[in-house]
């Protein structure tokens, strides 16, 4: 099926003492397929991409369940810098217009 898909998957539990640790990950995948039919032949192709990222370790033991979140620090840093890179020109453009208007007045 063509399109974007997201699913949360859990791995085999890891037993440490009386506790059970279940790894959890989120998988994003995109696939597209195309088949072309012409008078002198057939052609087809497709691409498939997937990204699996860890989300949490679920700790179970003595009737208690706890989620330990896994943070991708590098990805967070990149997202913050990307947002800053998008906001910076907007802020500076607004500032320039304001400054030019103030000096003209």
């Amino acid at each position: 099926m063509n399109g974007l898909r997201r699913e949360t998957i859990q791995g085999r539990p890891l037993r440490v003492g009386d506790r059970e640790i279940v790894p959890e990950a989120e998988v994003w995948s995109v696939q597209t397929k195309q088949i072309g039919l012409k008078a002198d032949g057939l052609s087809g192709g497709g691409v498939w991409w997937s990204w699996a990222r860890p989300t949490a370790l679920i700790e179970r033991g003595s009737g208690v369940e706890r989620r330990v979140q896994i943070t991708d620090v590098n990805l967070h840093l990149e997202i913050v810098l990307l947002i800053a890179a998008l906001v910076l020109p907007v802020v500076l453009t607004i500032f320039t217009r304001w400054a030019n208007r103030s000096s003209a007045a």
Partner: protein, 133 residues
Amino acid sequence: MSEQIPANPLIENTLNEFFAVFERAQSSASIDNVYGEPITYGDSVVVPIASISQFFGVGLGVGTDQHADQQDGGLGGGGTARVKARPVALAEIMPEGVDVHPIIDENRALTAGLLFAAWAVFWAARTLIKLFK
């Protein structure tokens, strides 16, 4: 007018089969790739954690030369694949609890920082030029 040839299920079936096999393999392997083999270290168990991206592309073609005296034809195809893993963290499972230690990729952080700095300098210079022009 070009002659319409009957739809051959060969390519469609091949592609569908290829994708199905890849998808089955991927969904079972994903979690095992993200969470590496646990390493026992004293009382603790250390699990390496990574982010995995996979890409593959495939193309196939069947052609026939219907203008030739004897019908001629051929089949060709190609493909590419890439798997990339980036370390994200180390999970330390101790008797007293689970601790996750993030891994900072210094090269990646430095590259992102330098790109942002260059972008910021460009916009700062542009703003100053516009202000004092």
